[in-house]
């Protein structure tokens, strides 16, 4: 399983990097899967409301009303119908990719279980909504879908009167039953939306809207598809004949031929087992749960920066409990903390200039503390013998750091690039531990911990607390957001950086290049 996950991770990283060459980082579609899912949901909702105006819920009128939209109103209701269909398919696609990506990145364990588990029923509901939608067209495909899904539901034995009997003959199918389907097709997506709200509860600043440029491009592409290749019905349903060859929607209905052929108890058991497995995935071995961040009240002044920077709403500011003259203190909810260390990077007391024995920031990771990080800096710097010496700070999910070490280059691993307090850069350069510092990590907008590289970049650019100090000669700092496939680019960056450092001795620290040198993104 780990190998599959690793292969998936690399595949996603490669695809993201390729798309990153075409799209601006914020627009990268693979980094906006959740937001695109919401966008498609809204397209489906708006187009659905529009076509509902023209839709007739009677059994005998449903097909003709859809045909009227498709043929007589092709330029408006027809386009809306196509958008409704295609955006639903796209929703399933991005949802599947979103799920696969989170799985590949291992972002479903520990504190992240809630988002994973709450997302599973959303998948089910989206499918239920889509399948009931196909019933409503009441064409040959609808007849097939209705019959197979009703027979499958009946196989569960939950209903006294088999649902499939509604499709036995035209006399058996009533307008009332059809109205029930319409109700289901409207109600189920609303329940899904409610669950989506739950799904986002443990996420700080969730991105539920894609960047406008990407949204406009996607909408334009789907409008073009709707005009060039409009969704069409497949002939009116006729319960006195059997659909023989139909065009399936392979996004929603790929399992229908299987459901039709295999025994109901077998398919029900398989479906329930798959559902249970998806729900249980966060707790399946191997279990990895690093210790959550811990607050050291003796060093916490209640400034709230950790609270502002935590991407998972794991920190709250509560009334002071130790009697010290501050209004509040940080409190970590261990159930929500993913141990990314971004809070430690935000803490103004997390400065390595403190006495060696006393590096105890207000908040820190017990298992990968900033004191240990300072030790790692000293150890790595001590091994550097060739000038210009460069220290690379790299996160666990960025370019691999193995193989980089040399007499000129030392590496210091971080949990997340956001774990690094800017004062560490100052410390390395002002204490002459190296001539240059490189900070590297996940590609832009692809941070494993959501905001780590974004906050790190802003802190180094002095746009977010805690700032990199003015005195730091910023031409001696390089930042590279490159992701796990960025090893080659990191090497290139190190080579060019070393050449520049060799050429530019720094007689007056802090009075040179006015901005942090950022060497690009994936």
């Amino acid at each position: 399983m780990e190998r599959i996950k690793s292969a998936l991770r690399l595949a996603f990283a490669a695809a993201e990097a390729r798309l990153g060459r075409l799209f601006p980082p914020a627009w990268n579609p693979l980094l906006n899967l959740g937001a695109l899912g919401f966008f498609f949901y809204w397209i489906v909702t708006v187009s659905g409301i529009y076509i509902y105006v023209f839709f007739d819920t009677g059994v005998s009128q449903a097909y003709s009303s859809v045909e009227y939209m498709t043929r007589d109103q092709w330029f408006a209701a027809g386009v809306m119908r196509s958008l409704h269909r295609y955006a639903s398919d796209a929703l399933v696609s991005v949802m599947a990719l979103h799920l696969l990506r989170e799985f590949a990145l291992d972002r479903y364990r520990g504190a992240r279980w809630f988002s994973w588990v709450s997302g599973v029923p959303v998948v089910v509901l989206v499918y239920v909504a889509g399948i009931t939608g196909y019933w409503l067209v009441w064409d040959r495909l609808a007849q097939y879908v209705a019959t197979v899904s009703a027979e499958w539901l009946d196989a569960a034995g939950l209903f006294g009167e088999p649902i499939a009997r509604n499709f036995l003959s035209p006399q058996h199918l009533s307008d009332r039953f059809f109205s029930l389907l319409v109700f289901l097709h409207i109600a189920v997506p609303l329940v899904a939306l409610l669950l989506l709200w739950v799904h986002l509860q443990r996420i700080a600043r969730p991105r539920i809207n894609p960047p406008r440029g990407l949204a406009a491009g996607v909408l334009a592409a789907f409008l073009a598809l709707a005009l060039v290749y409009p969704a069409k019905s497949q002939g009116p349903a006729d319960l006195l004949s059997v659909p023989t060859e139909i065009g399936l929607d392979w996004f929603y209905l790929p399992l229908f031929p299987v459901l039709e052929r295999l025994p109901g108890p077998l398919t029900w058991s398989a479906a329930l087992a798959v559902f249970a497995m998806f729900v249980a995935i966060p707790w399946l071995p191997p279990m990895r749960r690093p210790k959550p961040a811990a607050v050291d009240l003796a060093n916490c002044n209640g400034c709230g920066r950790c609270f502002a920077d935590c991407p998972y709403n794991a920190i709250t500011m509560v009334a002071r409990s130790d009697g010290r003259p501050f209004s509040s203190e940080a409190r970590v909810d261990p159930a929500l903390c993913v141990s990314c260390g971004i809070c430690a990077g935000a803490c103004p007391t997390a400065t390595p200039f403190r006495r060696r024995a006393g590096l105890h920031p207000g908040i820190d990771l017990p298992e990968r503390s900033l004191a240990a990080l300072r030790e790692a800096v000293h150890a790595a710097a001590a091994r550097l013998t060739a000038r210009p010496r460069i220290l690379v700070f790299g996160c666990d999910f960025g370019p691999p750091l193995g193989g980089l070490e040399s007499p000129q280059v030392g590496v210091v691993p971080l949990v997340c690039s956001g774990q690094l307090p800017p004062s560490f850069v100052d410390y390395v350069l002002s204490r002459d531990l190296a001539e240059g510092v490189v900070l590297t990590g996940c590609a832009e907008y692809a941070c494993h911990n959501r905001f780590g590289n974004e906050w790190a970049k802003a802190r180094m650019a002095r746009a977010r607390d805690p700032h990199l100090r003015e005195r730091v000669p910023r031409h001696r700092l390089r930042i590279l957001w490159a992701g796990p496939l960025g090893y080659g680019r990191l090497r290139e960056t190190l080579d060019s950086f070393a050449r520049e450092l060799a050429l530019t001795a720094d007689p007056q620290p802090g009075k040179r290049n006015p901005s942090v040198l950022e060497t690009g993104h994936a």
């Binding site: 295609y86 398919d89 796209a90 006294g160 499939a164 009997r165 058996h172 996607v218 069409k232």
Partner: protein
């Protein structure tokens, strides 16, 4: 100034995405039923007689009941199973006992059977017994049917409508 190459690349990616969506939204087509066959569906939901007939309560039994539950008759809930036999062109294709549904076995027995037949004339014999009397079928129906390729005949059962009903 916009980078024309990147715009073109973005357009290509989005065009590829919607092409995949558009194609797999309706293609490839699938043969879900042999076009040279017809279909017979036999389906019903029918409650057989109760295992024990209703009987009158004795005055003593009525007196033992709480006042709000006193009634003259009592009926056991459990129903008998339904036996169904189906023969097509002289071949018995189904002979089964359909148990009553429900936790207490008091629901209707349900049948939903599908058969693919070659087109043409067929002789159907349907027998149903719901009184627990073995081969003494309460309902028997014989019918000549003619089905074209792709056609569908549905057979339902309603005791209060006289037995088997044919739709097709």
């Amino acid at each position: 100034m916009p980078d024309v190459g990147r715009w073109f690349g973005q357009s290509l990616i989005l065009a590829g995405f919607v092409t995949v969506i558009g194609f797999f939204s309706q293609r490839p087509t699938l043969v879900v039923f042999p076009p040279d066959r017809a279909q017979l569906v036999v389906s019903f939901a029918h409650g057989a007689e109760r295992r024990e007939a209703c009987r009158r309560l004795t005055p003593q039994e009525i007196a033992r009941l709480p006042p709000q539950q006193r009634r003259p008759n009592t009926c056991e809930r459990e129903r008998l199973p339904v036996r169904l036999v189906l023969a097509i062109d002289g071949n018995q294709v189904f002979d089964g006992v359909l148990e009553p549904t429900g936790i207490w076995g008091d629901g209707p027995s349900r049948a939903y059977l599908k058969f693919a037949l070659p087109p043409g004339r067929h002789h159907l014999v349907l027998k149903l017994e719901d009184r627990g009397r073995g081969d003494a079928f309460a309902y028997v129906s014989e019918r000549e049917i003619e089905l074209g390729a792709g056609r569908r005949l549905a057979v339902d059962f309603k005791a209060d409508a006289g037995g088997f009903l044919f739709y097709g």
